[in-house]
């Protein structure tokens, strides 16, 4: 009969044991939320300089006006940048705790920016911390900055509160131009692990736009394994994205006799067919099918009629072909298989891939590529003819 009380005590003891053990509890106001990360080469040899952009969460009533506290970093009114250098990111983050009153909290980080010099030296070590930390998210954008990455985090912002969320939103909007790749940490990990595919990252810089520092996109940075070996401009990047079938919308200008039209890509789909040639080389046939509409028009020529539309389509096909060829030439020049041809060959002919794997770079350079583009016409918007009186 007595042992029934003891069962209750046992349960109480278990609960007490648990109660004492709220180990992982952290109040919201003890956390510093990291929103952006910039990684540059440190001054002395193989040191990394890490600067974190943390959201300064101001209480509803203590919103300080003006340029905000000059704590140990610079920052606008809603963020502070803290930087430190050291051997490994993990160690740097821990050193930062000397300077920051809050626990550095990574999961809400949105962007990781590598400085160009760091990128050329290799980004694997920088990425390792963010791939390994259990709470970090793999859908984080990774970019390469011309010059020092820390400057990117100092850019002035108009719409967003912080440069890092500004940068993330810019990359989000790139599907309108589809000239900048939207690569996440998970994409690069996949590419690096695949041995043959060369990852491409967005390539950005800080420009002085009428007194205020703005972020500007320059195209894409091409990597070999995890080292940056060059970069592509906007047109070449779009060519690459065409091959990778990642183009959503965009525009290209088409010249006519005395008029010009902006052909708007409404929808594009591309397929790559790889075949082996007798002499051991590889032939790639790239088919692109896209629908193109008239975005806007210069001059008074009535384009949306029977004879001008085919001209528009032919022109757009020619431009796309040029862009893809430019991209292929640039990739061959850099020797980086940006299009993932190697991976497709491995998938289709696994045995053949074993032979050509070692000197894949030469095989890629001598690859024969055929580009076929087929455009279909789409509507020309609300008005059929330019705003001009009909020609009598």
């Amino acid at each position: 009969m007595k042992h029934r009380i003891y069962r209750f005590l046992f349960a109480a003891l278990i609960l007490a044991l648990l109660l004492a053990g709220c180990y992982d509890r952290r109040e919201l106001n003890t956390l510093g939320f990291v929103m952006g990360v910039a990684i540059d080469k440190g001054e002395n040899k193989d040191e990394i300089e890490l600067s974190l952009q943390m959201a300064k969460v101001t209480g509803s009533d203590q919103s300080e006006p003006g340029s905000g506290s000059k704590e140990s970093g610079t920052g606008g009114d809603s963020y502070i940048n803290v930087s430190a250098s050291g051997e490994s990111i993990n160690q740097i983050v821990r050193d930062m705790e000397y300077k920051v009153s809050r626990r550095i909290y990574v999961p809400h980080n949105q962007v990781v920016v590598f400085g160009e010099d760091m990128a050329r030296q290799g980004i694997r070590d920088g990425m390792d911390f963010f791939a390994r930390a259990p709470e970090a998210r793999a859908t984080v954008y990774v970019l390469v900055a011309k010059g020092k990455a820390a400057d990117i985090l100092e850019a002035d912002t108009v719409f967003e509160k912080m440069p890092s969320s500004d940068l993330k939103k810019i990359i989000d909007e790139q599907d309108i131009t589809s000239t900048v790749p939207q690569t996440t940490l998970y994409d690069i990990m996949n590419d690096i692990l695949s041995r043959s595919k060369a990852p491409i990252l967005p390539y950005i810089e800080i420009i002085d736009d009428k007194g205020s520092k703005r972020i500007n996109c320059l195209g894409s940075a091409v990597f070999k394994n995890d080292k940056m070996i060059g970069h592509m401009d906007l047109q070449q990047t779009r060519g690459t994205l065409y091959v990778l079938d990642k183009v959503q919308t965009g525009t290209m200008t088409v010249k006519f006799k005395d008029a010009a039209a902006a052909a708007e890509i409404r929808q594009s789909k591309s397929k790559v067919k790889l075949s082996l040639k007798k002499d051991g080389g590889v032939k790639a046939e790239i088919q692109v099918r896209q629908t193109v509409g008239i975005g806007d028009q210069k001059g008074t020529l009535n384009i949306a009629n029977a004879e001008n539309i085919p001209v528009l389509l032919k022109e757009s096909e020619k431009t796309v072909k040029e862009e893809i060829m430019a991209a292929i030439d640039k990739a061959k020049e850099l020797g980086a298989d940006v299009f993932g041809f190697g991976k497709s060959i491995y998938r289709k002919y696994p045995r053949k891939w074993k032979e050509i794997e070692e000197n894949w770079e030469e095989v890629f350079r001598e690859m024969e590529t055929v580009v076929k583009v087929k455009s279909k016409a789409d509507g020309s918007g609300r008005i059929m003819r330019p705003i001009a009186p009909a020609v009598q």
């Binding site: 998210r137 692990l193 998938r347």
Partner: protein
């Protein structure tokens, strides 16, 4: 209250579902061909389920311990039953270590002791309420989990690249054998534990139906998860410590459906809760029948304590855990769930104990 065949079947499916959510080993052997191993292991497991069914038909409403005694006589029967008891107990420890590994991954600084004690205490509470209760909410949790997994698969539609399955059948045959053996031994044939539930089934010789239902539902879930992991993760499949968990973290549909891994954690903990309660119950009834005592309530608490103690010390490092699960575990468990039942079946047939002369 006796358990119906359907209820026990779906509770058996929870067994396989749990290991399906934590699969890692099979990717090591066959990266993009793991789904082949799943199908092959399903066929192999069908054979063993047939063997268990015939054993059950020959000795209806008899649990494993009584069958051993009937077939091998008193002494050898007791030894073999002790072996089974030891096997079930190690299964509890391994699974408890799995779940506290996962929860420890989410709550990094909480020591394993707290997690394991909390988990085993809840399981002991479930066991004290008896087998019927476990089988009553088993199907509920399995259906909810199936729904969640299907939903997660749906959200990741646009990340899927079917050509990641492409270079199929390019691995040496030994890898296929290893993969199939791993999948047959670890998730699929663990439902052998339900032999201990035979006395509680409504149909005395219904074990065959129970295991078949559990096997099909579980294997279907395993196939879905494996294909989804391959198709979405591609090459990162190899280096991720928790593939299925990482896949679910990739869901980012329109910034509303972003943090969905809480669902994954929920169903994993519930499924593991059923699995460990069933194993716990099987161990205790096995021990009680071995020692010929009627009520087995007094064993519940001490077995829980032993499970916690051994669970904490079973692996000193995560790589050891991985190494055991991928290389040694299939051999160890196939000794108990493949070799011994065959032996029992053989001697029973030789000694002519099958149904004919009953």
């Amino acid at each position: 209250m006796k358990i119906s065949v359907k209820q026990a079947g779906y509770t058996a499916a929870a067994f396989i579902f749990t290991s399906a959510l934590l699969t890692k080993g099979v990717y090591m052997y066959l990266r993009q061909d793991s789904w082949v191993a799943v199908i092959l292991s399903f066929l192999v497991s069908l054979i063993f389920v047939y063997i268990y069914a015939t054993l059950n038909k020959w000795f209806p409403s008899k649990s494993l311990i009584e069958i051993n005694e009937a077939v091998f006589g008193k002494i050898i029967g007791k030894i073999i039953s002790a072996g089974y008891l030891f096997y079930f107990f190690t299964l509890i420890i391994l699974n408890a270590r799995d779940i506290s590994g996962f929860v420890g991954y989410i709550l990094p600084t909480t020591p394993y002791v707290v997690i394991m004690v909390a988990f085993i205490y809840t399981c002991s509470w479930a066991v004290r309420k008896g087998a019927w209760n476990i089988a009553s909410y088993g199907p509920l949790i399995v259906f909810v989990s199936l729904f969640v997994i299907m939903l997660n698969g749906l959200f990741l539609i646009n990340d899927i690249e079917l050509n990641r399955l492409a270079p199929a059948f390019t691995f040496p045959p030994i890898k296929y054998i290893a993969g199939t053996h791993l999948l047959t031994a670890l998730p699929l044939c663990e439902i052998f534990v339900f032999f201990m539930f035979v006395p509680y089934l409504q149909k005395a010789d219904g074990l065959g139906k129970v295991l078949f239902r559990g096997l099909t539902v579980g294997a279907a879930a395993l196939l879905f998860i494996v294909i989804r992991d391959i198709v979405i993760l591609g090459d990162t499949l190899l280096i991720l410590s928790q593939p299925t968990y990482s896949v679910i973290r990739l869901i980012d549909v329109g910034d509303i459906l972003t943090r969905v891994e809480i669902l994954y954690a929920g169903i994993l903990i519930s499924l593991m809760f059923i699995k460990i309660s069933v194993l716990y119950y099987a161990t205790i009834t096995a021990a009680a029948r071995l020692v010929k005592t009627s009520s087995h309530d007094y064993l519940i608490r001490i077995t829980g304590a032993l499970a916690v103690i051994f669970g904490l010390s079973v692996f000193s490092a995560e790589y050891e855990h991985m190494d055991w699960t991928n290389r040694a575990a299939p051999i160890y468990s196939s000794f108990f769930i493949m070799l011994l039942p065959l032996l029992t079946l053989g001697t029973a047939a030789i000694r002519g104990l099958n149904r004919k002369n009953k």
